[in-house]
Symmetry: C2
Subunit: 219 residues, 2 copies
DNA sequence: GAAAAAATACCGCCTGGGCGGTATTTTTAG
DNA sequence: CTAAAAATACCGCCCAGGCGGTATTTTTTC
């Protein structure tokens, strides 16, 4: 059996190089390339081949989820594993919906990542322990705590995501309205729905939640 | 000459392991341990010895800066290198003031980190290219852009940091005031000073900046 | 011990955000 | 094709937050 050809995509050279060495030390894996953003992944796959791509969610130019869509389209045979610091459910679901084959957190042990690569390359899906636990988060008594439960949160509307992102950019309702060509009143409604869904009572709360859940970009 | 004994502290096993392998592959370096938070660094140094400690800024239990103070006190001979994703000046200055010996960003090349370890272990200070560039950010014409320049930003007061953190926790001025046993008016003044220093015009702006600069915790 | 920086505090103004409700149109899913 | 979900939009209320000043006390630094 030939080795699994692995492509690593991470915008931090130090992390990418280290990871490469770590994975390269596994006898069944061969690191065929290291790139630093989504576009480079596509470029690489134009010229060379890979069985599995290890994707960092946080990448400039083209992030993990955006890339997934294109990969599905152009290179459906290539398997993908999302690697992230973030542990939120929204995040994971977003990736799964985008068609990722595996999901591993950076806080996982190396053995888990190795297993993920092997499982995924064999055509199956792999989701780590912690990942599964996160997804399984029980829809516990939200009326008692007053907090919206994870299940509900995950269902932010496209428009709502746009709105929360613009709010995070510190724009006023009127500005957001102008940019989206809708009425400020509508923006207000969306903001209110968001606050209700998420369970906060101010724009600051929204932004924090957005950051934490990867809905809003870090930079 | 004996090898440089390196201790790695990072809360992400995957990253730490990889880094360990990468650094261990350098002939002049020997990785003597891997720990996942500040407290463990201290524990480790109680029993074993190390020449250089590689610290991740973001660590639970005891973060990089907190740890630096204790290290200076208990193990002044141990050299320290701060490793971070973040590229902001505030951050770097905070570490330098806390007495760090070197500063390298995760977006750096591995050669830079290796060099840092060698330079630092020889008793000198090491600050990477990008780091220096960040610090050197020219005090350019802030009156024209209207933006407060980096130099000014760096000097957030202790109290101001407390305030910005509480603002990020989505508390109202009155709540913050109550918690710090001061008048809401004072909170207001601090908030205003913060906004002026940072160059934003709302709480959302403050929070974003705080997150970006590590003044406000992610979780 | 004097000068500088930080922390404290107040007055007043006004606007945008948060919150109560309601309702129509468009899109999506079954 | 129809019911549900999403997106659109408005009325009105109220107050906390943002902004203009100013000023005193405490702490730090040199």
């Amino acid at each position: 059996m030939s080795k699994i050809r692995l492509l690593i995509a991470d915008d931090h050279p130090l992390v990418a190089d280290s990871l490469s060495l770590l994975m390269g030390s596994v006898s069944t894996i061969e690191v065929v390339g290291i790139v630093r953003n989504g576009v480079q992944v596509l470029d690489f796959l134009e010229k060379y081949e890979a069985d599995v791509v290890l994707l960092d969610y946080h990448m400039p130019v083209m992030n993990g989820v955006e890339l997934l869509a294109r990969l599905r389209e152009k290179h459906p045979r290539v398997k993908t594993i999302m690697l992230t610091m973030n542990e939120e459910a929204t995040f994971i679901k977003e990736s799964i919906q985008a068609g990722v084959d595996g999901f591993v957190m950076k806080s996982a042990e190396k053995t888990e990542l190795i297993k993920a690569i092997q499982v995924v390359s064999s055509g199956k899906k792999f989701f780590g322990e912690k990942v599964v636990r996160k997804l399984a988060e029980v829809p516990d008594d939200s009326s008692a705590t007053g907090r919206t439960r994870v299940q509900d949160i995950q269902s932010l509307t496209k428009r709502e995501i746009e709105i929360i992102r613009l709010i995070a950019e510190d724009l006023e309702s009127t500005e957001i309205a102008a940019r989206l060509n809708i009425s400020p009143a509508t923006v207000d409604t969306h903001r209110r729905n968001l606050m209700k869904k998420i369970g906060v009572s101010s724009a600051v709360g929204l932004v924090r939640w957005g950051l934490k859940n990867g809905v809003v970009g870090e930079t």
